[in-house]
């Protein structure tokens, strides 16, 4: 029974590809994974781009798969004993060193160098967009595709009615939140509860003067003074005034998914969220949605980049033709034309400067200047957390932040907790220094 089944499987596994190979001999087939975590029609939008590419490139067939979750898709790619099961994928830009360590990706640089005008290609990207694509030596490994940043959304009608100016630093942020909050309406929701506070925290760590990571992938600054200031600020936002906090949001922060929902329902005057939420908010709000640079620091705005880049995977078994085909697809997806369309369809920040002068994005920005804010904000953006062993370090940072923000660890012990976490992080990074 078992043998027969196994035999059957072997036959299936061996014969099918051969059969397919015979029928379409010269075709290169590329598996493309896109774990885009935004709503509905996005899947068909991407499938539309792929169809466009396949049409224009006879001999190459890209097979798109919507895989749902960044982390889980990554997990399969980097886990033990796994040859890359995919040819091209949109993955978190922060996973760069995981993929390098697992020896599963090909640097985009190797393709860029063969272009007619490499500099023109590279320079068309906003410099900030490439921060997470480069390794410490400056080599470009991945190409920005669906990029976002932390932004401040505000209920512009409320601000106008109350005659309050849009905040540009943390002090004004709290003042505005306190002025606008009522019994049924939170002044400010920052989604640091549950899941993954690390991203929001990074905007504030940068704002208070020291980003979590910089170019060197073996250095993480988690117990810096800025880090403590950032965590303290985020905690105080949800701490009631009687307990010495600002008392403008729920204790422990809000949950990621509910934050825009509460904002749309009029239950929050301001929220921090991804720039990727812009289209959703504009389409569904019955008030004017304002977007501003995230006022994450005492001196002024600061934000952190996020989102996904395109990687080309190879364990050394691919032919040059296959690699070139993969690059052709990546280049197509990062082209200004697609980026312009994608920016409108999804709300992600188009990564190429020329995309903003093209339709449909140009007229969208004209109609909704809010889109322009997420672009201009790139000037105050820092790179997203990225390091060796980033999966475990991300786990430590998340869990430590979650402990302090949820009130599990009192603020007086925050510094000691950060120090403990830093020691664990350094323990992991020592192996790479």
């Amino acid at each position: 029974m078992m043998r027969r089944t196994l035999l059957m499987l072997v036959v299936l596994v061996c014969v099918l590809p051969v059969a397919i190979g015979i029928s379409a001999q010269d075709d290169i087939t590329l598996d493309f994974y896109f774990p885009t975590a935004v709503d509905g029609p996005i899947v068909s939008t991407i499938e539309g781009y792929v169809a466009q590419f396949n049409e224009a490139n006879p001999g190459i067939t890209v097979v798109p798969s919507y895989t749902g979750s960044y982390t889980q898709t990554r997990d399969t790619i980097v886990a033990e004993g796994m040859e890359p099961i995919v040819d091209v994928a949109v993955m978190l830009s922060t996973d760069l060193y995981s993929f390098i360590q697992e020896e599963t990706i090909v640097p985009a640089q190797s393709f860029i160098d063969t272009m007619d005008d490499p500099a023109a290609f590279v320079d068309d990207f906003f410099p900030a967009m490439l921060l997470n694509s480069r390794d410490a030596d400056g080599t470009i490994w991945s190409i920005p595709f669906q990029r976002s940043s932390v932004a401040l959304y505000y209920n512009a009608d409320l601000f106008e009615a109350e005659g309050i100016a849009v905040p540009t630093n943390t002090e004004e942020l709290i003042a505005a939140a306190q002025a606008l909050q009522t019994e049924d309406r939170a002044g400010l929701l920052i989604p640091v509860a549950g899941g993954f506070p690390t991203w929001m925290y990074q905007a504030f760590a940068a704002g208070f003067g020291q980003p979590l990571t910089a170019e060197d992938p073996s250095v993480v600054n988690f117990n810096s003074e800025a880090s403590l200031d950032a965590v303290t600020f985020l905690t105080l936002v949800g701490t009631s005034a009687e307990d010495g906090g600002y008392g403008v949001g729920p204790a422990g922060g809000s949950a990621w998914g509910e934050t825009p929902t509460a904002f749309l329902a009029g239950q929050a005057a301001m929220i921090y969220h991804t720039s990727g939420s812009l289209s959703n908010l504009l389409n569904n709000a019955d008030f004017t949605v304002g977007v501003a640079f995230a006022p994450s620091g005492p001196e002024g705005p600061a934000t952190v980049l996020g989102g996904g880049n395109m990687y080309i995977f190879d364990d050394g078994s691919k032919t040059q033709e296959e690699l070139d085909a993969a690059w052709a697809f990546v280049e197509f997806m990062s082209s200004p034309e697609i980026q312009s369309d994608w920016g409108v369809a999804s709300g992600y920040v188009a990564a190429r400067q020329s995309a903003w002068d093209m339709e449909p994005l140009a007229s969208r920005v004209e109609e909704f200047p809010q889109y322009g804010v997420t672009r201009d904000q790139l000037d105050v953006a820092v790179m997203e957390f990225s390091s060796y062993d980033s999966i475990n370090i991300d786990g430590i940072v998340n869990s430590t932040l979650s402990g302090i923000l949820s009130g599990e660890v009192p603020l007086e012990e925050a510094q000691a907790t950060l120090d403990t976490a830093q020691a664990q992080i350094d323990g992991l990074l020592d192996a790479y220094r």
Binding site: V13, G81, I85
Partner: protein, 286 residues
């Protein structure tokens, strides 16, 4: 005496209704939420149905199927349904065969090492397959079935529980019947097919319902062992629906999707309530 009994009986009735209500409320509110217009979130004093100022219709409250439509667009549900059905059938079909063969041997045949082999099989009950996530993942990769429906079925083809259940049932089948068939020239497989299986149908039905529920509802293993939409079951699709909350949780849509996924088994259960309950009961009593 009688009036006191009546009084207790009323207390019991009230308690029954209360408990049932508590248990039903999540389902009731899920249905209500799934029918609520997405621009009318639940708020204080407005939790049951979508009520609000609908200028265009001039009505106070209304239901909508939009959430179902939106949820429907998020994933290729029919594809996921097909996978779920294929996996359930593919597991159950093979289980039926392996457990019948082994169950018969353990029930009716004497052979060296019988106790040892039975004990070996029982290890499966002590170490649940679901706990060995990492190693089974490595295994399906080595077998070359990662990210196929086979990966979802293979770990469950052998079933210690099924073997025990069938062994128990077959023991109750008189050996006379088997001997009569053997005199007629039937071989073991024919005897199983003609004598044992027909007499044990209720046990098979009981096992089938438990097996179907278990596989239909499984999430962690399919989530790990598959990657592409074509071979992912409904439970994983439901989780993906949940992942779309990156830009804001649309609970109406989520509840609609949840109902789409749970409906088949709940309806099946409604139709075969007694059968289901008896089957699940047999999963513990041996």
């Amino acid at each position: 005496m009688t009036s006191e009994r009546n009084r207790w009986s009323i207390v019991a009735d009230v308690l029954t209704g209360l408990l049932a209500l508590i248990w039903l409320l999540p389902l009731i509110f899920t249905i209500l939420m799934s029918l609520r217009p997405s621009n009318v979130p639940i708020t204080v004093g407005n939790i049951f149905i979508g009520c609000g100022p609908f200028e265009e219709l001039d009505v106070l409250c209304r239901f909508t199927l939009d959430n179902y439509y939106e949820a429907w667009l998020v994933a290729p549900w029919l594809q996921h349904l097909l996978t779920s059905v294929l996996v359930v059938i593919g597991v159950l079909g093979v289980q039926m065969i392996t457990m019948t063969l082994a169950g018969y041997a353990f029930a009716k045949l004497r052979f060296r090492g019988r106790g040892l082999l039975l004990g070996f099989i029982l290890l499966q009950l002590m170490i649940p397959t679901g706990v060995l996530l990492v190693q089974n993942l490595t295994l399906v990769r080595e077998l070359g079935v990662f990210d196929t429906r086979w990966a979802l079925m293979m770990p469950y083809w052998g079933t210690a529980f099924g073997v025990l259940l069938i062994r128990q049932t077959f023991r109750g089948v008189p050996t006379d019947l088997e001997e009569a068939a053997r005199i007629d020239g039937a071989n073991t497989l024919q005897i199983l097919a003609r004598v044992y299986v027909p007499l044990s149908l209720p046990t098979y039905v009981a096992f089938a319902l438990v097996s179907i529920s278990a596989r239909w509802n499984e999430f962690l293993w399919p989530f790990i062992a598959t990657r592409t939409a074509e071979v992912r079951p409904l439970t994983v699709a439901l989780n993906q629906l949940y992942q779309t909350t990156e830009v804001g949780a649309q609970y109406g849509e989520l509840m609609a999707g949840t109902l789409l996924v749970i409906a088949p088994l709940v309806v099946l259960f409604l139709l075969f309530q007694r059968r289901f309950i008896e089957s699940f009961a047999s999963s513990g009593i041996k």
